[in-house]
Amino acid sequence: MSRTKGLDIVSLNTEVPVPAPGERVTPRPVLEVSDLRVSYPTVAGPVEIVSGFDLTVAKGERVALVGESGSGKSVTARALLRLDHRATVSGRILLDGTDLLTLSGAEMRARRGRRIGLMLQDPMTTLNPVRTIGSQVMEALRVHGVGRAEARRRSVETLDMLGIPDAARRMRSYPHEFSGGMRQRVCLAMAIVAHPDLLIADEPTTALDVRVQEQVLSLIDSLVDEIGMGVVLITHDLGLVAGFADRVSVMYAGRGVERGPVRELYRTPRHPYTAGLLASVPRVDRDGALAPIAGSPAQPASRPGGCAFHPRCARAESDCATVLPEPRRIGAADVACHHPLTAAEEGPR
């Protein structure tokens, strides 16, 4: 399924990120995505939602995937697990060196849940209202051939670990008998009960209130240390990312525009879009008014030529509208921009 067409940035991607001083040294990657392209059929022909996206996650690493709604984050998450049969996915998705796009349906299914766990946004709808919590958590083990008693034991153990009080008894409860935060813990339990190497969490806290958000994030955080899995946190909320992620990848209109270590990116954003996102997030360490990004996000079906962000960009020049910027290394970050901000400029604020 690998395509040669498009950007040749594989070499850039496979490079293990240079660890900044003080950050933990990351071991070999568990997930390596390169030139991921996802398109969906429409009446007007296929529309590419994700067009050439790269991502590397090491074992025990927390990576945030950030972007506005419509940027292709959730489509990416589902494409990584090959969940939507209507989508055409190309590129390479290496999980421990195996390209998921070359696997048969059965081989892929054997990896879902067991090697990659997925956590969804809304705990109200992610749990089946007519089945018990227990049966749904156990299902994640049972479908991979774990016996009933063993599955029950491990499910109770996991729910217990995630702070569900009286877990053994609560296995018989139904989703409506749980609060939103507790439900999201159950969803997390479903995703990690089989101890996957990688957890993809698609906006896992958006539907929750702020206090519960922190609890759920810190649970995920502790799991990284406990079972040593890598995490991809998909979110639109840069405020959430700062305290959680090791590295950040910013997505705009189906392409990665900037990625790098979290501190680097917050201190000196290089891409005008990243800078704009940061300027629109309230921060305690800086004064000044919030500055939302002008204009509205590009739609996949009518993505502007060149750099997709150029119609909204204050720094855009004529080449931005015509030439697609290739990612290049600036400091510790990879930036896809013709006219990146320099460290001195400190972003448009």
Binding site: Y40, P41, T42, V43, A44, V47, I49, E68, S69, G70, S71, G72, K73, S74, V75, R78, D84, Q121, D202, E203, T206, H236, P297, P300, A301
Partner: protein, 290 residues
């Protein structure tokens, strides 16, 4: 800017476009058939090649030929002419039954909606009870009470069917009357009557129209069924269900007598069902047939 379910929006877009796309050929055939049937219901008896009631035993049980395109029945009556004449009884009968049931249903739903909780409870409970009696059985009861005739069959179906329409209309009226714009009109001092006629009624009848279209097909089937068991149109009147019954004795020797009206009933029910389904799909692309 917080919504994030990209996937959903991606799929929503083509779906909307698909619904707006040109009508599928099968739906267009259904629309066309409905129009032709309605036209026949008006002019059918006029364009019949023979007198549908003239008995000629010498011509009995003739197979389809140039003289009698669809053959003759046991009394030598022209089947084509009787089928054409029957269009009026069968289709107009079904239309009247559905229209009557829908009207009463809307009226009762309006009363339940503006009447307050108690009225609503009692009326809806009554609807439920009536609905628990099968239409066919209920209609037989009414038909025998009023004496079997086409008119009784129509009345029987109105009696048996209005609660179904009342339920649908009332559900929609509930939604509309609790919506912000009706609330706004209420705040501005609009009275109950004005609220009902100006705001609620015009905005809550789509479902009833669609349901009515769907039910015309079913009504044709039940009307014909009532005639078939002898509780509807009586001999010698030309009505499809009664014609099927008349022909049942000759099914092995003169199949056309029963098969022609039977096919017409099927065609009518099918055309109206497809049309109703197509209308519903247009209203709610995802609720098709559910």
């Amino acid at each position: 800017m917080t919504g994030t379910t990209t996937l959903a929006s991606v799929h929503a877009a083509p779906r909307v476009r698909r619904a707006r796309r040109r009508t599928p050929w099968i739906d267009r055939i259904a629309y066309g058939t409905v129009l032709v049937l309605l036209l026949l219901a008006v002019v059918g008896p006029l364009i019949a090649p023979h007198d549908p009631y003239s008995v000629d035993l010498g011509q009995a049980l003739r197979a389809p030929s140039g003289e009698h395109l669809l053959g003759t029945d046991g009394l030598g009556r022209d089947v084509l002419s009787r089928a054409l004449a029957g269009t009026r009884a069968s289709i107009l009968g079904a239309l009247m039954a559905v229209a009557g049931a829908a009207l009463i249903g809307i009226l009762v739903a309006s009363i339940a909606t503006i009447g307050g909780r108690w009225v609503d409870d009692i009326v809806m409970r009554f609807c439920d009870i009536t609905l628990s009696l099968p239409v066919m059985v209920m209609a037989l009861g009414v038909a025998v009470a009023l004496g079997p005739s086409l008119r009784s069959a129509v009345i029987a179906m109105v009696v048996a069917w209005w609660p179904g329409f009342a339920r649908i209309a009332r559900a929609e009226m509930r939604t509309v009357i609790t919506s912000p714009y009706v609330e706004a009109a209420r705040v501005l001092g609009a009275g109950r009557w004005r609220l009902m006629t100006r705001h609620v009624l015009p905005n809550s009848l789509d479902g009833v129209y669609v349901q009515a279209t769907l039910e015309i097909g079913g009504a044709t089937l039940i009307m014909a069924g009532l005639s078939f068991v002898g509780a509807g149109a009586q001999p010698p009147s030309a009505e499809w269900g009664a014609m099927v019954e008349t022909g049942s004795r000759y099914l092995t020797s003169a199949w056309w007598i029963s098969v022609v009206p039977g096919l017409l009933i099927t065609l009518t029910a099918l055309a109206f069902a497809l049309t109703g389904d197509s209308l519903r799909t247009r209203n709610h692309p995802d609720a098709a047939l559910s």
